[in-house]
Amino acid sequence: MSGQTLYDKLWQSHLVHSEPDGSALLYIDRHLVHEVTSPQAFEGLRLAGRKVWRATSAVAVPDHNVPTLNREQGITDAVSRLQVETLDRNCAEFGIVEYGMNDVRQGIVHVIGPEQGLTLPGMTVVCGDSHTSTHGAFGALAFGIGTSEVEHVLATQCLVARKSRSMRVWVKGRLGVGVTAKDLALAIIGQLGTAGGTGYAIEFAGPAVSALSLEGRMTLCNMAIEAGARAGMVAVDQATLDYVRGRPAAPTGSVWEQAEAWWRTLVSDEDAQFDCEVTVNGSDVVPQVTWGTSPEMVVGVTGAVPDPDDMSDAVKRSDGQRALNYMGLTAHTPITAIAVDKVFIGSCTNSRIEDLRAAAAVLKGRHKAASVKLAMVVPGSGLIKRQAEAEGLDKLFLAAGFEWREPGCSMCLAMNADRLEPGERCAATSNRNFEGRQGAGGRTHLVSPAMAAAAALAGHFVDVRDF
């Protein structure tokens, strides 16, 4: 019998019950909750007269609707305010810990989980949000769920699930200077396509992945969903343990020893078989820029906007043409000739301290181009904001003409006041460049934090390696 994959180990250690037809009850260790996908789940519990099974497994935070300016004045949009207040009320009623809007621990749900040690290796982590895959960076099984499933987990601590097929993306070589986990993630999506991972749980492995910091691994797993995979993960190693140790919710003393002994086994066995193996050469990856309205529509910064006429099948050709029309671009335009109106550094993909440091390092002592109307930094959490300020990064951003905001999802999905106007073009460090994602008619180009900072300085995309 061949060995087990990391995914096999995580799956098996959480099996409560399995049916002959393959459906299973999976035990959930950590349930992260935010204001948009939870109100109806709590209402469902109330209507059925049900209790929360294990309230201490859940932690809630408002992030999607919160303003990033003048927070002390509260939320002015009445509908957004009600959604956030409803979360406050539900958490109080059901005894769930919540980091409220003005708590320094507040931030994007996928940033604060790892930051607080709420996300630990070997856990099953769920959240009513597709980017829950982020937490797989810790050797955890983490995936997004719908609102009925949020209610199901609250009521039973379990989820009805079916095992996915397994894929390993092996990244050999080493990422070059100026090339980041974001570029690797986009390059992988470019190779797999947005549905390439559908039905799979992806393990990212290989020397270039092991060399990534935990922040970088989170960026990579965060975008697994953009390749169609519900879960992405990276095996546990020394870097994982070093990141987790000392976090507020991490174990200590002899319990840590016990935990560490198990965590160290959370790697795929040498002889494990995957249903699908993909290899990427990390040394070949250059800084990436998306040109279209799907994350798979991506090229290196040294390239040009592709010509839909060159595309293989009819569907891709018409999608490509529609994307170019929406983006206001013409085929063969060099990427570095595309000018940007706004720059957004933030989101659960790229708002951690390492991301802010990378952007600040590019900006240091320089100022954004006059043609860039707005450049903003939205830290992933209150604690990241505080840490960045302790390092003086806020000063660098402000001196470069950037705005320094309060933490939240912000212009990643424009559910609060931060958004693009129709036709505006944005260099964004977020994860989705769908039509209207950052505001109706807005045009999003996904890039790394360093590339976003460089674009702000130049007023158009530039190869950050030339800086």
Binding site: V16, H17, E19, D21, S23, L25, Y27, D29, V36, P39, Q40, E43, G44, A48, R50, T56, V79, S80, L82, Q83, T86, L120, G122, M123, S130, G146, T147, S148, E151, H152, A155, T156, Q157, C158, V160, A250, P251, V255, W256, Q258, A259, W262
Partner: protein, 212 residues
Amino acid sequence: MRALTELTGLVVPLDRANVDTDAIIPKQFLKSILRSGFGVNLFDAWRYLDQGEPGQDCSQRPLNPDFVLNQPRYQGAQILLARENFGCGSSREHAPWAIADYGLRVLIAPGFADIFYNNCFKNGLLPIVLPAEQVERLFQETFAHPGYQLHVDLVKQEIVTPAGEILTFDVDAHRKLCLLNGWDDIGLTLQHLGEIRAYEAQRIIDAPWLFS
């Protein structure tokens, strides 16, 4: 969840393919904190002539007389006849909530989008997949006969037309059981209460840090 065993209901034909969840319930209604009340905004952009906003009194809004749901002969329909790939797009559960809240119980189409199909069963709706030719025939019969009704029997997995013709359909055994009994997944999972407790008890010993 409301149980569904059999029903005889009026059929409303929605004659377009690839109806997405944005069309079923537009995004401005997702800021609601309720699970109910979406029925008045079902197909909002097609159903009304003005721009819909959350919290409006929809009874005062101008209806689009051309939209099928607004036609007098289809009022009170419980069965929606649809075309290929119904429910594609985002995973929002607000889509089945709106359909159920409107009063529909059964959806018949040649195919449904995956997540939407799953979400239906969680909300007391029965989505039935029939071969395209059969669906086409039902469309023609519905158009031809005002007051056209179908009898749907989930136990026998069959649809009976007014002429007495029987059309059989497939449904996953587990989902059928839930719908017949009105069990939601939660009720069913709680039947494994003992196993969940036993798992937890062992887990507290093996991995105590998960329970602090």
